[in-house]
């Protein structure tokens, strides 16, 4: 990282989410699933938000999904926006629906922003964001 460069904001590694980030560092996508009602639980939390059950298990995901919707970020704007993303412009922020059901906010990378379409099949890929932190992103599926 060049001197004076603004660092991108990173997630806080909460106790509930630590298994997610540990798996991501091994290039694996995992999510919580309730053993009582079978619901997917996402984002990470201490109990099932469908039935209240506490028997929730980290479960490997296929890493496959499709683009539910997306936008192309062409400018840094808004109170919550970090200028650290300036060099990435234009880039795609997308809602990706995993084939198991949960929806993630993520980036679609590995293709031109103009080639991204709703319904496009995508697969997870991990991008290093800090020493031990890997962010799951998605690229067009082969």
């Amino acid at each position: 990282m060049a001197e004076g460069e603004i660092r991108k904001p990173l997630p806080a590694i909460t106790p509930e989410a630590k298994p997610f980030w540990d798996a991501a560092a091994e290039q694996k996508l995992v999510m919580q699933r309730c053993r009582d009602c079978n619901a997917w639980v996402w984002t990470p939390r201490p109990a099932c938000n469908e039935c209240g059950g506490e028997k929730i298990e980290w479960t490997p995901m296929s890493g496959k999904g499709e683009v539910y919707s997306f936008t192309v970020i062409r400018q840094i704007a808004g109170r919550a926006a970090s200028p650290a993303f300036q060099n990435d412009i234009p880039y795609v922020v997308a809602w990706v629906d995993l084939e198991e059901g949960p929806r993630m906010i993520t980036n679609v990378i590995g293709c031109a922003p103009d080639d991204v379409k709703i319904g496009m099949k995508v697969a997870v890929v991990f991008e290093r964001a800090a020493k031990d932190l890997w962010l799951p992103k998605f690229r067009p599926a082969a």
């Binding site: 991108k8 904001p9 990173l10 997630p11 806080a12 909460t14 989410a17 999510m31 619901a39 997917w40 639980v41 996402w42 984002t43 938000n49 469908e50 539910y68 919707s69 997306f70 936008t71 192309v72 970020i73 062409r74 400018q75 840094i76 704007a77 808004g78 109170r79 919550a80 926006a81 970090s82 993303f85 990435d88 880039y91 922020v93 997308a94 809602w95 629906d97 995993l98 059901g101 949960p102 929806r103 993630m104 906010i105 993520t106 980036n107 709703i118 964001a129 962010l135 992103k137």
Partner: protein, 397 residues
Amino acid sequence: MSLRNKAAIVGIGETPTDRLGSKPGEPRKSTAAYLAWAMRLAFEDAGLSLKDFQGQGLGVTIPTAYPQPFWPEEVAEILGITPGFLLGGATGGAGAVSLLGGMAAAIGSGVIDLALVIGAAAPFSEHWGGGLQPADMRDWEIPYGTMGPNSKIAMVMRRYMHEYGATLDHFGKIAVTGRYHASLNPLAYLRKPITMEDYKGSRLVADPVRLLDCVIPANGGRAYILASPERAKTLRHKPVYLKGFGERSNPSYGPRAGSDALVIGVKDAGRVAMEMAGVEHREIDFLQLYDDYIVVVYLQIEDLGFCAKGDVRYFERTDFTFKGQLPIQTSGGMINCGQPSTAGGMLHVIEAVRQLRGEGGGRQVPGAKNGLVTGLGVLPYGKNLGCCSAAILGGEA
């Protein structure tokens, strides 16, 4: 318990909005100044004064950029009120409508018989910092370079267009109608009429969201006064009654981990409010819909049941002006009158009162008897809006 006819609005106060402080060297006004101004206007309208509110209700919207947890008490101190019942708006932009329900409940159960509900913000004049973010936004959105609500609404709008075949012409009609109404409202901030071409040609903010899809932030203050029906009858204006109220926070349509992002929780909040009021769709004479974005107005018309989901033909054939079949946004909405943070939504309650009193001037809905008002707040992770409130207001008990 029903809140039907348990309380009535007896006073309204709306300051002009401005963007003072957006340019260097401009004179600035504090949030406190807009609060005091809005309160004075509401007192003048109702014929009440500060002494009437001691020991009574005070409801305060909480601006998003100001995490001071005792803000409602700070407002009481600024204004010189010692409330007997103090509520903060817990639902962001929906606060104006949520507080209507909360204060009516307090009045209806006899805790108080009068309440001032007030909100103000001066985002251009005062710099409060960024405020705090929900943990989901901090951990699962911002690291991907999302640009606040614009990014999320862009995804809602794109998916909606994909799924139902709506085009810019459908959304543009809402934008043009709103500005037309604003041109008839002396208190609107943006008053120059626009055309469909202006809408379609406006700058892309977050594709497909354009500048003329977005609400305009502003400095300003807004207030209304609620009273018991007995108290209301002693005051100078014809009371405007709360007929029905409904609220849904954290709604989810489908599994919580991946819900239908094209449905807004006014679907249920509105249904509950209409049932409480005992009114049918045909008895509602106008809608004042929370409008952070044009697509949000559009979706609410569907989700409130005025047409089927995805019925684009309904939007083509319906006249939404004050003279039309379904008047909406008769003030011009926040998109044209300005959004002083979470106080923005107060506009819709105030405009509904004007219409029901017959004070709509050049934009008066002929013979308006009942109106529906909504409030919305926050865009949670992966979903549509997270706080949804609806109220039916009526000119007759």
